[in-house]
């Protein structure tokens, strides 16, 4: 715990440079584009040869991570990705100064950043996220699985404590049946979009009713074909699933996530 005085002194001087992402060429940043922080830092460009990093000043003594900060990070990168290739950084990358951005980030990794940007050129990421409609998927499970239907009858209206074992058994059957559907539907999604995407990543489910969750790297010219394919799937899957197509996004899933950029 620090004292008030220390807080104030620290807050006076300690700023860092927050880095959003790396773009090719001589990118102009629209003046006034809001960044992370409260008040939001103004986004500007740091250049090194023909690479540009989007950055803004950030107060090192204030924690980041409000919803506004997360949205600011993603919106800036996604709106850029609609126009030009972008290497998105994971949220929370802060360097000491503008010089550090050029000399310690862009300089040492110039070749790999340039190569990655060439690969992403003309592409954007799209995320497809589907969630089962609970009543519909439960209805399917009960209909196809007599054991589940029987257990459902047993617990119906009964004392929850007395039927605990049956409840657990029923829930386990339901969870397994949903997992089987998830795998089958994810395969179906992959098949349906195979012709339209350059690369794909299946994301792990984040909710027990998640049906499909995947990111696709898509050529700009094929985005409309992807949308049509997803619409067709949505029609086919009907009321059992809420399906969303999100994008264009920066290619978060296709920039060697998890591995450090350097070494």
């Amino acid at each position: 715990m620090t004292t008030q005085t220390e807080d104030r002194q620290a807050g006076d001087g300690r700023t860092g440079v927050y880095v959003y992402g790396i773009l090719p060429g001589d990118i102009e940043v629209e003046p006034g584009a809001p960044g992370v922080g409260d008040p939001p830092g103004e986004v500007r460009a740091v250049r090194y040869r023909d690479l540009t990093a989007l950055v803004s000043d950030v107060d090192l003594d204030r924690p980041l991570g409000r919803a506004e900060d997360l949205f600011a990070h993603e919106e800036l990168l996604d709106s850029s990705a609609a126009e030009v290739a972008v290497l998105p950084l994971r949220f929370g990358a802060v360097l000491a100064s503008e010089d550090a951005v050029a000399d310690e980030l862009l300089g040492p990794h110039y070749d790999e950043f340039s190569a990655a940007l060439r690969q992403l050129d003309g592409h954007a990421e799209y995320v497809v996220k589907g969630r089962y409609v609970e009543d519909a998927v439960l209805g399917e499970v009960l209909e196809e699985n007599p054991e589940a239907a029987r257990l459902g009858q047993q617990i119906s209206g009964g004392d929850p404590d007395a039927t605990r074992d049956q409840r657990i058994q029923l829930g386990e059957i339901v969870a397994e049946a949903i997992e089987a559907r998830r795998q089958a539907d994810t395969r179906a999604l992959g098949d349906a979009v195979a012709e339209r995407v350059t690369a794909s990543v299946v994301r792990p489910p984040t909710h027990e009713l998640d049906a499909v969750y995947a990111a696709f790297l898509v050529e700009t010219g094929k985005a409309e074909a992807l949308r049509q394919a997803i619409e067709q799937l949505a029609e086919q899957w009907g009321d059992r699933m809420d399906l969303r197509l999100i994008g264009p996004l920066a290619a978060y899933d296709f920039v060697g996530s998890g591995a450090p950029a350097g070494n």
């Binding site: 994971r90 990358a93 209805g139 009960l142 829930g171 027990e208 197509l245 996530s257």
Partner: protein, 132 residues
């Protein structure tokens, strides 16, 4: 059903009902990670919203599913056979399951078109109860 195409960029309709969850999945988990020795640390990234991001089937999950089945059964009974709760044969129950689901689907389609996520499902359920 329709699908919602959400433009990723621009200042338009954000934040959306489920937008924050999408953003968290994306920019906290993915993206380029830069060398730790280059980075200066922030005082601490304050993240209040990361929960339920890992799906592990547990007894809690099982009990929740069972409860959902139970609710489903009860709402069918109300809609299909008022006053005749219990003593149903399995085949009869199955038919009603289907009928109730279709009816619910029709009534609630408008809902689906305009919203996404858990809130919507909750709304849908309470609505079908009112209707029954």
């Amino acid at each position: 059903m329709t699908i919602a195409t959400q433009p990723g960029g621009g200042n338009s309709a954000r934040p959306q009902p489920s937008g924050l969850a999408d953003v968290i999945d994306t920019i906290l988990d993915k993206g380029l990670v830069i060398d730790a020795y280059v980075r200066v640390s922030l005082v601490g990234i304050e993240l209040l919203t990361i929960d339920a991001r890992v799906v592990i089937a547990s007894v809690d999950t099982y009990l929740r599913f069972a409860e959902a089945v139970n609710r489903l059964d009860i709402s069918q009974e109300k809609e299909g056979l008022p006053g005749l709760v219990g003593g149903m044969e399995e085949s009869g129950a199955r038919h009603k399951t289907k009928g109730a689901l279709e009816a619910a689907g029709d009534k609630l389609r408008d809902f689906t078109d305009s919203q996404n996520g858990d809130k919507e499902r909750a709304g849908r359920r309470s609505r079908s109860r009112e209707d029954s």
